[in-house]
Amino acid sequence: MSLDVTDLILKNPSADRDEGGIPGVLVDGSFWHWQRAVDEVSIGQHQALQSARKFERYAAGAFGLMLFGLFALGVALVHQAEIITLDFWTEPSWTAAALFLSVLAWLFVPYRLVNDKRLQQNLKRVGLETTPELTTIPSLAAVERRHDIAEAADDDAVKAVEEAYRLAVKSTHAEVGALHIFAGTLATTPVQILFARLGIFLDDVRDPLRRRLSTLPQGTAVFGSQAHELMAQAFARALSTRRSTLSALDIFAAAFAAEPFLTDLFASKGITPEELENALAWMRISDDLRERYFAFRKAAAYKPTSNMNRSMTAVATPFLDSVSYDLTRSAVQGQTGLLVGRETEMANILRAIEGGDQSVVLVGQPGVGKEALIDGLADLMVEELVPEVLQDKRLLKLSVPHIVSAEGGTGADERFLFALNQVARSGNVILVIENIHELIGQGSGIDLASILAGELSRGYTFVIATTTPQAYTEIVERSVIAPKLQKILIEEPGRNEAIRVLEAKVGGIEAKHKVIFTYGALAAAVDLSSRYMHDGALPEKAIEVIKEVALVVAKRGQANAWVKKEDVATLISERTRIPVTEVSQGDAEKLLHLEERVHERVIGQEPAVKAVASALRRARTELRSGKRPIANFLFLGPTGVGKTELAKATAEVYFGNEQAMVRFDMSEYQDQNSITRLIGGNGQAGLMTEAVRKNPFCLLLLDELEKAHPDILNLFLQVMDDGRLTDGLGRTVDFTNIILIATSNAGTSFIQDQVSAGTSLIAIKEELLERELRTTYRPEFLNRFDDVIVFAPLTREDVVAIAYLLIVKVVERLKAKGIEFTVTDAAIHELAEQGYDPKFGARPLRRVIQEKVENPLADYLLKGQVGRRDTLIFDQGGEITLQKAVEL
């Protein structure tokens, strides 16, 4: 039975504690409480007794050895060959006495060993017929059967208690409380290992603990009712988690739960009570796995591995054996991993089988653990812990490819029928068919699935099948075999369950690569793979991640290296191309000064630049909903004012290069069929979905949005809302790590008029949203954008600044040739004047510079009069003067 441990711990009865009462645990009619006295004298005595007992054993052994030595000596020196005569043994002699005394001495040793072990109670023998109940009884006379919790405590637990007492005495505190006991556990090895796994340094905890301890009331230390109650809580916890002894970890957990200060302390280190519970489970799991392994090996000795069952009623099934894989045999041989968790699912499966002798189909994503569940079933069958209908049977996994390609019969359908007939005759086979959807539609004559359905109706066997959800709805549900199969849904395990699966698996990986995992790494593997990796399912995704990260860390060359959360984050960042690692110093600098760097390329448009930069900052500090793109923007304004330039600049500044921008011109997607080009269809991938799939962290730029077909606009509605799209190949593409920027020329004339009239940008925007844009875009579509930003037409000053930027580019190109190039301010103003047209933004300026600057320059260069280190000066009116360099 499994008790909810957190329930047990949180129901702290100290609120209604009766001052005179004795706290303890009532279970199976006995009352357990901490009887052993904890004070200087008792501790000393107890320790002395322990060492005395230990000495007894060694002394007896040594004594026996010495006596035996004397016997041997006696034989060698005195009696020699006499010992084989009867006379020697019937005559009293010291040598013989030595022999017999030595045997007696040696018999003493196992007596003490067994007795000492039995002095320590084995909690597993507590039946747990009734739920353990934390109570406080008024006096010991009230209960008949009593036990001492101290007898059930292992050495570390006792050490923790003694350390706690010593600490209280040293600090002259009045009572030994939860904090002392907590501090006591810190001295034990299991708790130190726990801290190592959690990635916390003991010293980080000791200082705050010490400060807190100094606030406690002074007095003569007493191991009083507070401490007794804590011991009772720890004991209840040990019982409910089916431990065989009370360990230091149980005491640690009980102390943690009893003292809110500790919860805060751990929270400050990033460990919530839930995470702590998972880490404690990790400590338990290793012990459990070892025990289960031994119990399993014992049971496996009784299970036959040939195709014969124990009552020899089965029939040989050679053909069947050749097209199948014996899971029960491989379980006996120890080749199946032990299943962790999934108790509900296993119970469902067993119930379904037992209930109607019915076949079941496990429906779940690949990687969710269907195969593990079936292996677990094979293990249970080996231990015979299954309903009668599964007992003394073999679990065979049928291999469809083998049936299709095997020899014999005239076709796959005949061979399949033959195999099923062998199942019928054998009487001790249960079939497993993985990916049962492969069976449907197969077979040259009759469909294999129909054959199976027919045989299942005859009722001599049933089948355990697996399939994926998609295959189930598309293929299996409509097929002839559907009514025979009871559907059992196997979903991804929850976060904590997935972490426990990893905890069970990680031992083998640690041993193989000689690394040590922290708890944080396991939790990160589950969280990050769940959040950012969309191919595959938990727990397999996370298991692959920890396998790979173990390899990476092991390759670094250090023996027993620790695998931390950062290592996992780095691996996942590399795999998914999404930055999930903590923001580094360099990154932080870049993010905080994003606007400045963007403004080096984009002139004006403050609100737009600010909006985009803020969105990026929010994204990297994870202050956003994970179910939508990082940000959706709509840039409105006349042509040539910098809408596209801003997108390019952001891509270059933040993502590192302009190519990190994925750009689509909506004017190419004006008809309905163009959807298939974007997202794919008919078994083809789409341009946009492929681009985002390959590069999930990017900037998606949609130019001239008003030109797109309405169906395409609906598509983007879904992207902006849901953050995902299904492409033509049926895959879901994740759009939650993109920044979506749409540009549109709609309402341009309105904007230009209003700007000339002097209306503020904000008023213009409101007017646009309320009225002007209604004709072009649907209101719910506009609503989806995080921000609609109006780009103002360029002013004269803006154009001058742009002219400067463009000229700088020319200067740089000439510098590459070793030629200095300067343009006078007057010339720049002139060019700006010539290139300025409010209707066309900055584009004319580019043409002007081309005509008026670059063309003449080209002519000049071709004339060959300009050499390296010369300077060209461009002045008003298009005058170019050459300044020859000074001779070296």
Partner: protein
């Protein structure tokens, strides 16, 4: 003869001095516990120890009974072996099963014999050894004096 005497003397002094040294180094309360442990040795052997031994015997027998699977064979005595249900096979099957049952039961009897022997040794050996030890010690003391 002289060597024999000296040898005997050695044994005596070794035993006594060993015990003395050990006892001297202990606190009285602990000494009492240790003394109790030593004195209770035979008591334990024939009470708690005996119970544990009996438990082991029962467990071992149970384990082998399960391994021999006699119950399974008896339950299936008339079920045809290897699924062959013609009358000849059934006859052979019943015969085979009877033979198997007899054989396995015999095996179990042998195991039981072994277990009984172990139990006997457990009960008898300490007494015999103690008696022998006493005989030799007392006899040697009397002889020497």
């Amino acid at each position: 003869m002289v060597v024999n005497n000296v040898h005997g003397l050695l044994v005596k002094t070794a035993a006594i001095s060993y015990l003395l040294l050990y006892c001297l180094g202990m606190q009285p309360a602990i000494f009492k516990d240790v003394l109790l442990d030593i004195v209770m040795f035979p008591v334990w052997w024939y009470s708690r120890g005996l119970l544990l031994m009996l438990q082991w015997c029962v467990d071992t027998l149970k384990g082998y009974a399960k391994y021999m699977a006699i119950a399974v064979w008896i339950k299936n005595i008339f079920v045809p072996m290897f699924g062959q249900s013609d009358w000849q096979s059934r006859l052979i099957s019943v015969f085979m099963r009877s033979v198997q049952i007899v054989g396995r039961s015999l095996g179990l009897v042998v195991i039981a014999g072994g277990v009984a022997l172990a139990l006997l040794v457990y009960i008898a050996a300490p007494i015999l050894i103690a008696l022998q030890a006493a005989y030799h010690v007392i006899g040697s003391l009397l002889y020497v004096s």
